[in-house]
Amino acid sequence: MYDVIIIGGGVVGCGVARELSRYRVKTLLLEKTNDICNGQSKANTAIIHGGYDAKPGTLKAKFNVLGNAMFDRIHEELDVPVQWNTSLVVSFSLEDHPALEKLLEQGRQNGCRGELRIIDEAELRQREPNVGQEAKEALLVGAGGIVCPYELTVAFAENAAKNGAAFLRNAEVTAVSKLPNGHWQVVSAAGTFETRAVVNAAGIYSDVFNNMVSERKVHIHPRRGEYYILDKKYKDVFHAAMFQLPTKMGKGILVAPTVDGTVLIGPTAEDIEDKEDKRTTAEGLAKTLREAGRTWEHIPTRGFITTFSGLRSTGDTGDFILGEAEDAPLFFNCCAIESPGLTSSPAIAQWTAEQIADRLELAPNPAFDPIRKAIPKFREMSDEERAAAIAADPDFGKVVCRCETVTEAEIRESIRRPVGARDIDGIKRRTRAGMGRCQAGFCTPRTVEILAEELGISPLEVTKFGGDSRILQSYLFEEGKENA
């Protein structure tokens, strides 16, 4: 019997788990896939939005601004990389000046903190000398930043686990129903559980769970965005996250540095039907480059290291759907969380936990420890720190991923931690091994070995992301004979 079951191990679900662990509460998080941070939270723009974009009065506007203000503390407590590099919303025609003015006004109404003003072409070019020739002016958003979305999600989960929350992965929820005693029954691939409250943080599937228990139906459709990532060589081309004036489909294509030093270009915005369709397409990728070309002319194609796509959970109301469902007591929705969802996630998590605490009359957890330390990053250490790290654990002396300088010690720790990695992509998200310019060509064989060793499984059972995503098919030799 649990107090709270959270459906979904994305940034919102893991954030709620962490915020709930401030209370004396028995929490279980159920994640459908082999690992947390496997949906929208892993494939997005990694921006801390300033809060100018959402329409005043909406939940998006409110939680964007609230969430934005929480990231310094997140950085301090959870050791998550955060950089306040500002955002610039660039316009390419002086006729768009009123639209920039409108954004500025919207930002002021929303309570955007920090500097917020329109800068002219001269200042724009002085700040960003590589911006395209057509650029005319820009909205400068001082409260704009960047964050590592995987580390944020993983940090929430690790800290929640440390403070008592339980996590089950490969635990797809198939039914949620009311029991005669007023509790909820949650049926999952990992067992059937009884709980007092349910949090629906199922991302792209959050409509499914709401619609299981509530007559106030919600519809969420996937809106796909396609991206390119460029090599670290180009990290200094732009300093700020470079937006273009938004359209009705979203914030448009941006060119932004990431906290890891790569450059992200994207996303497109394409409404699709299939909630699992995370393909990249020739059209989408071409569109990404074409539109980004206004911000960054002559994008160096030899700098591409990968492409990916992500699905936004676009709801039919245009806003987040949050809070206790009116006709389903103690069923709490975190639905339709699309952009600025990542920025809003800490505030959504905090608010949702407070609502639950209030309804379940939870007492504070006196043992709550807000601190989580990141896996030490060898690539960021000074030589003195490196020497000390190797002295303490010789596995730091073994570089496995040469492109990102990730050591065996980091990989092993990413598996051993609470809610640790259990597949190749999980290691990637927690350590960056395989995320560099060779895209795991050199390190995959060793990473497979380490995973197999740590998990006590055969290398043939090691997967890229769970399920049938095995890397290898068979052994070549058996009893001294070629067997293939």
Binding site: T280, G441, P445
Partner: protein
């Protein structure tokens, strides 16, 4: 701080030959650093034969070829340190490396020879659309799995790109019981060696689809197939030519990139045409005392030429340490004329002595063409060839005295002349 005369980064074919070359020239204070457990570099996984025809006049496998050099290194007592990763090189030749056994070390060298080799271009750099499922490997990664780890990625194979590793893997996967459905090449010609096309594709009836590419990758949890389409002269897919190939493995052999991150840390100038260091005829980079050779300098076709080049780098590094490398005079730039790509060296000293070696890759396929070297508009070398192709390097050795007039020349021009139609 630990000190050494000549520090060699990388213990693959280039590093081993550089060490042997330096030793035989007289060097006695040499250190090889290698990140892997065993010396030999990528040759360890190249278990096919065809190595050593030039160097040893016999056909060896990759590990056998490497072993010849390892034996020499050991016979000479040249020290080497494996499982040691170099993480920084400074312009004043201090190398920072880490290992389990020695922790973090700084080593001051008098000369450094860069022998880090190259890496394979990954799928992401191509922007091929589709699913991001497992089953897509670079050919070299698959080669490591099959030949060193004893594991098979899959049994229904398509190969994208016709680089040599891809061709070799087509045959290897066939030997291992897999069915290789096609080798798909974007260009109208292969980037691999002719002999590999014959011995690895033709002999096994594997079709080579020139002017084709993979336009979509299918399979949510694991690769289930790829869509292949023909491309036009603009290299863009031609709509309507798509064909489905069910497969569980896609191997990529779409180019090799010299691994010059350390080179750049040391402030060495990089040539955009080779993605390797800019060097003179002595294989010295823009930073005095730092030399470069092998696939980190430019991607070779045959390991024999890597060894030859690396020996020379070893000898010259020793001459540098001894102060015997003459102050180079003016560096005369080598210009690439018609048909010439990625030339090495990029500069020749006006005081060059001995034999000057030029290597480059033809930009296209040329039949009955002449390779010409000109100084001051005068042809100092003209060599007729049967066929030139991007997959096979042109290797020219020219006695320095033939480069007459070099002192006055603004540049040396290397070009290809095709017969008039």
């Amino acid at each position: 701080m630990r000190k050494t005369d000549i520090l060699i980064i990388g213990g693959g074919p280039a590093g081993l030959a550089a060490a042997v070359g330096a030793y035989e020239a007289g060097a006695r204070d040499i250190l090889i650093l290698d990140r892997e457990e065993h010396l030999g570099g990528i040759l360890k996984q190249c278990i096919h034969n065809g190595f050593g025809l030039h160097t040893f006049q016999e056909e060896l496998t990759g590990p056998e070829y490497a072993q010849r050099f390892i034996d020499q290194v050991q016979a000479y007592g040249i020290p080497y340190q494996t499982e040691t990763m170099v993480i920084h090189v400074s312009a004043d030749k201090v190398v920072t490396c880490v290992s389990r056994q020695n922790g973090l070390e700084h080593i001051q060298a008098k000369a450094i020879i860069l022998c880090m080799g190259c890496r394979e271009r990954p799928r992401g750099s191509l922007g091929t659309p589709g699913e991001r499922c497992p089953g897509v490997f670079t050919a070299g990664t698959a080669q490591k799995f099959t030949n060193l780890e004893g594991m098979l990625p899959g049994k229904e194979v398509v190969i994208l790109g016709s680089g040599d590793i891809g061709l070799i893997m087509a045959r290897r996967m066939t030997f291992l019981g897999a069915k290789v459905h096609a080798c798909v090449e974007l260009m109208p010609y292969s980037s691999g060696l002719k002999r590999n096309i014959v011995q690895c594709l033709d002999d096994f009836g594997i079709p080579l689809l020139l002017s084709h590419t993979v336009v979509d990758i299918h399979g949510r949890e694991h690769l289930t197939g790829v869509t292949v389409a023909e491309v036009g002269p603009d290299l863009k897919p031609i709509p309507g030519t798509e064909k489905e190939y069910p497969c569980d493995t896609l191997l990529l052999s779409v180019g090799l990139i010299p691994e010059n991150e350390l080179t750049e840390m040391a402030g060495v100038k990089i040539a955009p045409t080779t993605s390797g260091a800019v060097v003179n005829e002595e294989l010295q980079t823009s930073v005095p005392g730092i030399f470069s050779c092998g696939n980190v300098l430019h991607v070779h076709d045959l390991v024999d030429f890597v060894s030859e080049e690396a020996r020379k780098a070893g000898v010259n590094a020793y001459r540098y340490v001894q102060g015997e490398l003459p102050e180079s005079g003016r560096a005369v730039p080598v210009e690439m004329g018609f048909g010439v790509g990625g030339i090495v060296p990029q500069f020749v000293s006006e005081t060059a002595t001995g034999t000057v070696n030029f290597m480059f890759r033809p930009r296209n396929v040329y039949r009955n063409a002449k390779v010409i070297v000109e100084v001051n508009g005068e042809q100092v070398l003209s060599k007729r060839t049967m066929i030139l192709a991007p997959g096979e390097m042109v290797n020219l050795n020219l006695p320095a005295e033939k480069l007459k007039g070099l002192k006055e020349a603004p540049s040396i021009l290397v070009r290809i002349e095709v017969p008039e139609a």
